[in-house]
């Protein structure tokens, strides 16, 4: 919102180029890598939503893995037990996650900061228990493995393999979710999110209904996590809510938001891809040392944040602004922006 520096043409060009590259990826890379790219996409979707809540609205959640799991199970069960088409499950997941998110958001109104973080952590702890109680998957486990969408006849030209087709489905959903988030933060709602985050008394005297904005951002972020869960099932073929997985996902979303750049639209997407690639790059470094890879991954994250404290997008923006100012200064030397510290009357 702030850095409206690049022209419309430049932005549209960059967007087209990015989509072009993303569409080309599965043509060149094999199934393993394509699955990795698809993972980056569904993490990006969840991070987009979490960024609305945490980045723009200042409500930290470390439990969004639960909403992800909710979406994943909803899609998996509808497909597996009721024979639904994958795409048909999405609107249902969207509405249901939104409602569940709002239901969690209401009690969250009473708490802030660390307390809210703890409550959402509780959510992530509780969710696997609920699944164990209510989900009866294959062979008495809680795993649900629905039949996955396959590449239709008309798509054989560009996606002969099913994993390619699933990647394109994920990419399309990701782009739609990105455009929606972008529209949300650019307008009235986005400004209200920031106002409530920065100064709730001022926001309320402006006429902003604090409760509605806070619960609303919870509900929307849950919707995003739910849809991410559906896409996750479609990509991995599996709905699973182990305790570890639920926690891990919750943290992954938050890490993607932070390393990408909080309260920037592009941040979570860049963060999710960076995260997935860093994880992948550090994974097989030491095959016989199980603990070393995660440690190196952790150090890499710390270094990244040390170098770019406001995330990759935040850092890029700062650099861009700096470079522009240098360029302008070279083209047309002019008086400094800031008045001299020495006041005229003292001279």
């Amino acid at each position: 919102m702030r850095g409206r520096a690049l022209g419309i043409g430049t932005r549209a060009g960059a967007a087209l180029l990015t989509v072009g590259v993303l569409a080309w990826l599965p043509q060149y890379y094999g199934a393993t890598d394509t699955a990795l790219f698809a993972k980056a996409i569904y993490i990006a979707i969840a991070a987009l939503g979490l960024n609305l809540l945490t980045g723009y609205n200042g409500q930290v959640s470390i439990g969004h893995g639960a909403f992800f799991g909710f979406g994943a199970y909803a899609t998996a069960i509808l497909m597996n037990d009721h024979g639904w088409d994958f795409l048909a499950t999405l609107p249902v997941v969207a509405v249901a996650s939104f409602v569940v998110g709002a239901a969690v958001g209401f009690p969250a109104l009473r708490v802030k900061g660390l307390y809210l973080a703890l409550i959402t952590l509780g959510l992530a702890a509780l969710f696997p228990d609920l699944v164990t109680k209510y989900v009866h998957g294959t062979g008495g486990t809680t795993l649900v493995q629905p039949p996955l969408p396959t590449s239709p006849g008309w798509a054989q030209g560009f996606a002969p393999n099913d994993d390619q087709w699933r990647y394109y489905l994920a990419l399309t959903i990701g782009i739609v979710m990105f455009i929606l988030a972008w529209n949300l933060v650019r307008g009235r709602f986005g400004r209200a999110l920031l106002a409530v985050r920065d100064h709730d008394a001022a926001a309320s005297t402006i006429g902003i209904d604090l409760a509605r904005i806070k619960v609303g951002s919870f509900a929307i972020s849950a919707l995003y996590a739910g849809i991410a869960g559906s896409v996750g099932v479609m990509v991995t073929g599996l709905a699973n809510a182990g305790r570890v997985e639920t926690f891990q996902l919750s943290i992954n979303f938050l890490v993607a938001v932070v390393i990408g750049g909080t309260a920037t639209v592009l941040g979570p997407v860049v963060g999710a891809w960076t995260f997935v690639f860093l994880e992948r790059a550090t994974q097989d470094l030491f095959p016989d040392q199980a603990l070393l890879s995660p440690a190196i991954f952790g150090v890499a994250l710390i270094l990244l944040l040390f170098a770019l404290p406001d995330g990759i997008v935040g850092g890029a923006r700062r650099t861009g602004r700096f470079a522009r100012r240098k360029l302008q200064a070279r083209r047309a030397p002019r008086a400094p922006d800031f008045p001299s510290p020495i006041r005229e009357d003292r001279q």
Partner: protein, 236 residues
């Protein structure tokens, strides 16, 4: 019937009673000043009116009780509060702040027209549309706070020490602008101000608040002639 009617209003922060039953009125289109020493409860009175602080007593806006209502619902009715000490949203740009001022309005054209008009009225803001509010000077931020409030097309503006930290010349300009806005748009104002001389010029009537109670009231003219008030607030 007055636009704003405050009758026997009390307010407390926890166990500490700050307002002990104050009564005041503001007519439509009228400018009223509240004078008082530091800690007298002026800010608290404005907060109670805009719903930020819970209060007891009677509080009516345009004939309807607004006591106990949420701040946003009071704002929707046409009361806009400019808080003490820059109530701008520091992380947002000037333009975003201004558009937030119009949050409860839906008339796109009216909003665009007002935006143009207030940028015209406050040229330093127009020059800094895309600057982050927090990086502006104190005076500019104060201007922004007032301009943002005006974006809501209020019927009553609550102004809490708008001159705080402003250079004398800037204060004078701001008060001239307020006078113009009041005259041309008929926006009523309840003004809390330490600069009593300027405030009494702008206002038609005034009240003096001391330790949470109204101890004097009258027309601006009478108040500025009153010996004690001259000594306490006008310094002569």
């Amino acid at each position: 019937m007055s636009l704003l009617e405050v009758v026997d209003l009390s307010a407390a922060y926890g166990p500490i009673q700050v307002l002990h039953g104050i009564s005041l009125t503001v007519d439509a289109g009228e400018v009223v000043v509240v004078l008082g020493a530091n800690g007298a409860g002026k800010t608290t009175a404005l907060r109670a009116i805009s719903g930020l602080v819970a209060a007891k007593g009677e509080l009516r806006f345009d004939g309807v009780s607004i006591l106990g209502r949420h701040p946003e619902s009071i704002a929707h009715r046409g009361v806009s509060h400019v808080p003490q000490g820059r109530g701008t949203l520091a992380g947002l740009t000037v333009d975003e702040n201004m558009r937030l001022g119009a949050y409860s309005r839906r008339d796109r054209e009216g909003i665009a027209a007002d935006l143009a008009e207030w940028y015209d009225t406050f040229p330093p803001l127009a020059k800094r549309r895309s600057q982050t509010a927090g990086t502006m000077s104190g005076g500019e931020q104060q201007m922004l706070a007032v301009a943002r409030s005006l974006m809501s097309r209020p019927r009553l503006l609550l102004l809490d020490e708008p001159s705080l930290g402003l250079a004398p010349l800037v204060t004078k300009q701001l008060f001239e602008t307020l006078a113009t806005v009041n005259r041309e748009r008929g926006i009523a104002m309840l003004l809390v101000e330490q600069n009593a001389a300027l405030a009494l010029e702008l206002a038609a009537r005034g009240y003096v608040l001391e330790a949470g109670e109204i101890v004097a009231s009258g027309t601006a003219e009478n108040l500025s002639r009153d010996g004690e008030i001259r000594k306490a607030y006008l310094g002569r």
